[in-house]
Structures are given as C-alpha cells and as structure tokens.
Symmetry: C2
Subunit: 335 residues, 2 copies
Amino acid sequence: MLVPFDEVKPLVRAVLDGCGTPAAAAGLQAEILLEAELRGLPSHGLHRLPRLVRRIHQGLADPGATGEQVWQRPGFMSVEGCRGLGPVVGAAAIDALAPAARHNGIAIAAVRNSNHLGMLAWYAERIAALGLIGIVLSTSEALVHPFGGRRAMLGTNPIAIGVPMPAAEPFVLDLATSTVSMGKIHDHALKRRAIPEDWALDADGEPTTDPKEAMRGSLAPFGGAKGYGLGLAFELLVASLAGSAFAPDVRGTLDAEHPCNKGDVFILVEPLSGSGHAVADYLAALRSSPSTSPATPVGIPGDGSRARRRAALTRGIEIADAVWDQLTSLAGAPA
Amino acid sequence: MLVPFDEVKPLVRAVLDGCGTPAAAAGLQAEILLEAELRGLPSHGLHRLPRLVRRIHQGLADPGATGEQVWQRPGFMSVEGCRGLGPVVGAAAIDALAPAARHNGIAIAAVRNSNHLGMLAWYAERIAALGLIGIVLSTSEALVHPFGGRRAMLGTNPIAIGVPMPAAEPFVLDLATSTVSMGKIHDHALKRRAIPEDWALDADGEPTTDPKEAMRGSLAPFGGAKGYGLGLAFELLVASLAGSAFAPDVRGTLDAEHPCNKGDVFILVEPLSGSGHAVADYLAALRSSPSTSPATPVGIPGDGSRARRRAALTRGIEIADAVWDQLTSLAGAPA
C-alpha cells in the first residue's frame, strides 16, 4: 500500500519510543529506516523494525548505548559498540572522528559489537555534509560464495564512498559486493518469479533459478573473480581493524537470537586538493557523454536513489501490507 | 622466447643506468618491471621500458627525482612528483608515510605529476612488509566507458589492497576496474583472435569482437553498474585528494610526448585489532571450502600470481621477440 511519508514517520518514532529508545537515538534509527524506504531500498527499511524491537526486548540491542570510544592513536579510534543501535554508534563515531580527520588529514574508526548499520549511503552523506570524504565498510553473515566456490563464506560486505561537492549534493556510491541482495531473492520468492541463473547457488552449491532454493544457498559475488576479491579484501580489512568475527561466525543482523558481532569501518579524509569544481565539471561531462540509448542518459551513482526519494516524498512510500500491519500493531495505532 | 631471469635482470639495469638513472632508482624501476613479467603481467612489464627511456631522454621523466613531500597535516602528505619515476616517488612516499601511520594509526599520501606506477601489487606488498595495511589507488588515461555509455570517460582506475599476515605472505589484491586491460586487447589483436562481445566498444560506441576496433574504442567497466560506480568513485577520490587530472585530460602513461598528470593515493593503516591469526584461519577455511570443480580449489587473490612467479624463476620469463630485441638493443648487448 502507498502511505504518505508524514503518516509513517510518527509511527516509526512511536514504535522506538515504546521500547525505551532515547529521543536522539530514535531519531537516527527512524531516519535511516525511512530513508531506505524513500529510496526504494525496502530490504534496509521498515521490515527490519519488528526484529529490532525484539532484539531490544531481549537485550541484544541497547537503544541507550552510543559505544565506548577508545583512541588507540591520534587518528585511530576503536569502538566497542556495547550492543548499541548501528546508526547511533556509527553517528557517534563519525562525530568524534571528524575533528581528528580535520586535524590529521585522515582518521579511522573500527567498530565491533554494534547492531546492523543499515543503508551505508546514509553514513557517507553524513560525512560529506561535514565537508569530508567518507569510506564506510561493514560485514555481515556468510551469504556470498567465493568465485569458483559452492558455499556461503563471505558477507555481502558493502562499501559506501562519499565525496562532498561544492554547492551541490555529494557524490555517494553504496553497493554490496554480491550480485544482488538476499532481499531481492526473497522478493522474487514472494512474487513467485524465477531468478537469473547467475545470481545464486542452492544449498548444494548448484546453480538455481528457484528463489526459495537460493534462499537456502548463497549469492554470487558481483563481477566474478574481481568482485569476489574486493568482498574478501573488505572482509579482511574490517576484521583486521575491528577484531570482529568472520562471515561464517557472524550472527545478529538477520536474527533476534544472537548478539551482533560483525564489524564496521569508517574512514574520513579531508579533501585537501581544492579540486571540487573540477570534480563537478567532470561529473557534468560524464552525464552529457553519449549513452547507448538516447532515452537513458549516462547516470551517476545516487541519481536513481535521489529521484526515487523525491517521488516518494510527494506520492508516499510503497509499503508491503504485512510490514504496515506489523508497524501499526507495534505502534499501538489503528491500522 | 624464454629467457632466464638472471639474464634479463642485468640488461634492464644496464638500460636504466645508460640513461642516467641513479642506482637506487634503477633498482626500484627494474624490480617492478621484472616482477610484472615474473607474474605473467607483461602489460606492466618490459614492453614499457623503451617508452620510459624515451620519456627520460625527452625530459618527461626525471630518474633522479623522488618527489617533493609536503605534510599538509600530521597524517596527510601531498607529493609533487616532479616527473619522477612512479615506483621511485611511490616508494619514497611509502617510506615517509609509514612512521606517520604508526604514530597516527592511519596516514595518507596523494601524489601528482609522477610517472606510471606500474603493477600496484608491488606497493601493497611493500606496505604489508612494514606490517601495515595498504590501500593503493591510481588513475589513467580515459580507456573505460561508463555503464550505459559509449565513450571512454574513465581511467582503468586500479586498486590494490594489502593485508599483512603473521608468519605468511600477505594477502594482496590488485585489480583494474575495467573488465580486461587494454594490454589484453592488444594481445588478441597480435594473435588475430576475436574478443568476447562484452569486453569493449568500438570508436562509435558499438559492441565489437574485433580487437583492432576495440583498441580505438573503450573498455567495459567490470561488473556492470557496480564496477562503473567503483571506478568512478576511485577517480573522484584520487582527484579530490591529489588534485590530478580527470581521465579525459590525462596523458603520459601510454605515450612519450606528454608529462604524466594522473594521480596516485596511498593509505597506510596499522592493523590494531591483533586478529592476524584469525585472518589466517579464515583464509585456510576459504581454501578448503567446496569448489565448483574438484580439480580447482577455491583460490585467494594473489595465488595465481605467486605460482606464476615461482615457475618463472625456475623456467625463465616468456618475452615477446620484439620486446627482447628492443631490450638488448637499448642495453647495447649482443642479441
């Protein structure tokens, strides 16, 4: 169903308030879930809220925790997440990191034991809004098989990169190193649609076009051996810096039974060359370069997301009936 | 032809000595070219040497320059490359950066106006040998079209990531964000072999299987829209940090007529979590996880490169006759 944004927002806040989330934390957690919905990324949106509420009730997520920040070096902060909400611990880390990045030129935070970050673009945008370049990495449960492998051994290991632009919205890239998300496989299963053969393997490691088989199996890395290499490198970077678990041992972003033991890394850099206007000119040249189809100009990452966001703010958010029912029930509001 | 390694090495040194390269610089430049040959990456090997010699003779490369290093911040070094050799300026930057990375936890160098870096894995290995994590980026001439585009607008924008391992060789990933290298297209042209349809476009932006048409056209980004996004993000990162030219304006890595105006970025991080043994265990688990073909176990990036290197040290390096003839002629040695 299509719900006006202004109607959804207070419901989400009510749900978070209802389980004892402090106002500032509820604001951050609500914003990132709603931003995912606005941008057409429901896999990182409201369907995660009921699970988060269960995690809070079971003590697996502490809505009052912002993380214990320890400066190991003047530019290196280790964060013990203390089961805090991902966006709360992440935003606190960025806020603490920004002055160090301005002073040192670059600074890094490595976070463990905080909950699911959600959509990484949100963090890259926060960093860009501070006038800094941001690189954000996070890990997950084992969902992706190695190139040439049959079993899920890697996380979806997304990366976001944000570059601030003078007098314009920042450049923001946000992608997982799997070909598609497990959410997209679930979506095909719900709609009883076959999936392309190169998206996933079944539980035996054989190619499948049946989304239900794929849900018990593993996702393909994007871009073959290269995408596998990047996903693996991100896994090692995060674990080497955060001391978090490796994918086969990661729990807690998809369940309501286990503490969340994945890791996150935030790198903030001051863009010191002063070439912001040259960056803008280059992006303009890219957009106006010839495209394969006259109807579809060459795009820049983030374009589609921004267009969907604008449309959803006007038209409303498309929310699955089941998700809407859960949300209104949790909020104690009439459905 | 197959030439013993010990026979090639002094020739390369003789060529570099012959155009006035100081001994330390010649050692670094020779090593990286030879390492590329040993690892089966001739596109970054000896065929680049005659062009480099011409660049030195024409004043486009200064074999005595190590770059002017300016610390903009305690962890951010800007390097004016002063037309120095890529590996000489790069190695000097890494050496200066390492103590800052240990002190701050992380440090970055942004380099402009130095010559072609060559194989990025070499730098990641140098950084890992210092016990540090390394991320290396470099840009190039416009060779890659945007996803959905028809014209070369991006560099091949490679990335290398190195992670030191306790009592083992480091993990080293090194990949370009194009599907294949232009060198591979050249190789197919030489051998009069067609290329797959998804590798490249011709000069009109149409798909082609003719490598000669592809050489006048553009390479596809790897992994579709995601690989395009990463290549673009790396282009923006390097330009924002180094103040170097964007791909359409880059010259000097493929010619002997222009100063080289691409940029390079080196990020060094101290792996503070102390999880080195967990990393090694995880890589071992990956290798022993089930593979699609029993004859080919799951690999780790760098495996193939190391195997080829071992074989070449014993059997010799396969060098194209034309490259060998140029090399011996430049060295003034009997062919």
